[in-house]
Symmetry: C2
Amino acid sequence: MKEYNVAVAGATGVVGREMINVLEESGFPVKKLLPLASERSLGKEVNFKGNKIKVELLGEDSFKDIDIALFSAGASISKKIAPFAVQSGGVVIDNSSAFRMDKEVPLVVPEVNPQDAFKHNGIIANPNCSTIQMVVVLKPIHDMFGIKRVIVSTYQSVSGWGKEAVDQLWSELDEIVKNRQPLLKERVEKVLPHQIAFNLFPHIDIFTDDGYTKEELKMANETNKIMHADLGVSATCVRVPVLISHSEAINIELNKSATPEQIKEVLSNASGVKVMDDVAENIYPMPLYAAGYNPSYVGRIRKDSTIDNGIWLWVVSDNLKKGAALNAVQIAELLIKEKQ
Amino acid sequence: MKEYNVAVAGATGVVGREMINVLEESGFPVKKLLPLASERSLGKEVNFKGNKIKVELLGEDSFKDIDIALFSAGASISKKIAPFAVQSGGVVIDNSSAFRMDKEVPLVVPEVNPQDAFKHNGIIANPNCSTIQMVVVLKPIHDMFGIKRVIVSTYQSVSGWGKEAVDQLWSELDEIVKNRQPLLKERVEKVLPHQIAFNLFPHIDIFTDDGYTKEELKMANETNKIMHADLGVSATCVRVPVLISHSEAINIELNKSATPEQIKEVLSNASGVKVMDDVAENIYPMPLYAAGYNPSYVGRIRKDSTIDNGIWLWVVSDNLKKGAALNAVQIAELLIKEKQ
């Protein structure tokens, strides 16, 4: 079996670390793993297959002999550095928003549009976390019944922001639990725009002129690019005090009538999706229990009778796994399968 | 000024205590306050206007000379005991779900349907918390532009369940912060169906045969009863690790076109509503900062272009104040105003 030299740019972030975990878990044929990060992370090591590997400095010259470069170091670094990885002969799979809506760059979820992965010019974009877990569920429904409109409200964990937001939640809770005061005094080291412990806010990524956040627009634009569709998708994206996994309340207007049982059946046969729906036993997906697992879990499948052909779903998935690292490694797997 | 003897049944619960606070804050003309609770709470005291008042046993004979009885002791106790308070000549304002959909019982939000309060036969029902904060916002919009359909996803705090759920969240966090383990081992004393710290779940009140929770159906049925309307309202209700205040992402289909600016103007003039919407300054309602205040706060007012006349709102309010105690006391104020 052919083996590949794989670089991970942003190797010490929450997604970068998870990429290295998933490379190991999935048995990806790695010849050499090259963890790359900024100066701040020099001296750190990552664990891979029982070995400790030193983090090296991410730069334009980092990619000699690299076959696949997984990027998760932020959009501006991707924009600046990814072209050099391509120039060195590697394929970049980029987890940032830098290239996602670029017409020359495929945006790929392997269960939904695997064929697009092969149309790359050196860069393939990994979609936004909240989009990935939704499209793997929407696609099989759209194929069978046709989707007209999607209204989605999200419940997104702090790890979607990154390690500093995870640290912010823990350190807020330390102080709150100690002092028994839910509302903290202003803190200096916060990275999220407000206190997140005992709180939540409808603000993920920056605001645009039309009053939407970029995160909300991503859910609409990326969904349609991935699905090669023109669905009406409108979102409210909310940060919640959860560590890992995003949850989504999704209201769908179908073109054709479908019973909840039919939707369940379609989703039960869908790749990357796991139906978890038995309310009589209090069974529905929850972020705490989805963390660490691969599927996009779906529950609370029921009819919305306020319109013809209305359906509600509740979708939860680990934002670091399927929402980021797992999807990126699955794209890499697609590429090497073609080569074999 | 005439003064009234006021009983509070369930005086030691989170809502009961808040009712006593609001009676004091609002300057309600209380001659005698009678805090009532079950045997478990005997020996406890409540604070009212600088005095400590002993809690007395709630029973059929508790209501001699009581003019107004505010009930927040659960639906089964309301069903059993409220009729005796009425028999004694008092008016009951009941915060439970016991009588809300009873055709003989008015369901009142003073900003929305004050006239209904006067059609009572001794009992007036206080709506569900998540419904109240939504209808004060929907009503002025409906009057001006007509509402066709409402899709709402909620983010509801643990105090909506009661004091034991608040205690559950605190004690879970104590253990999590101590052990640095997000996922607790199974605990005996939990009252919510699952761990709530670092978690959330689409399960408030019990499930019905059509896959909805009773909480979700309340938001539809109570909204239409209060507004004397027949709007399509469909909800997903979610419990989140927040202490106080419920948040709601509300997607509205209007009959007539309205710009976000027009909606803002209508809501700026609406009673019980406060617009808090300046995303350029990171200003939108949040539960942590709504706690302790009276209004139903509205932000993130924007167009949903996936349909004609679509609008998104983000509504946050203290579920113990406007969602429960404040609304109940406001109903009492309506009644005594009529008598004066």
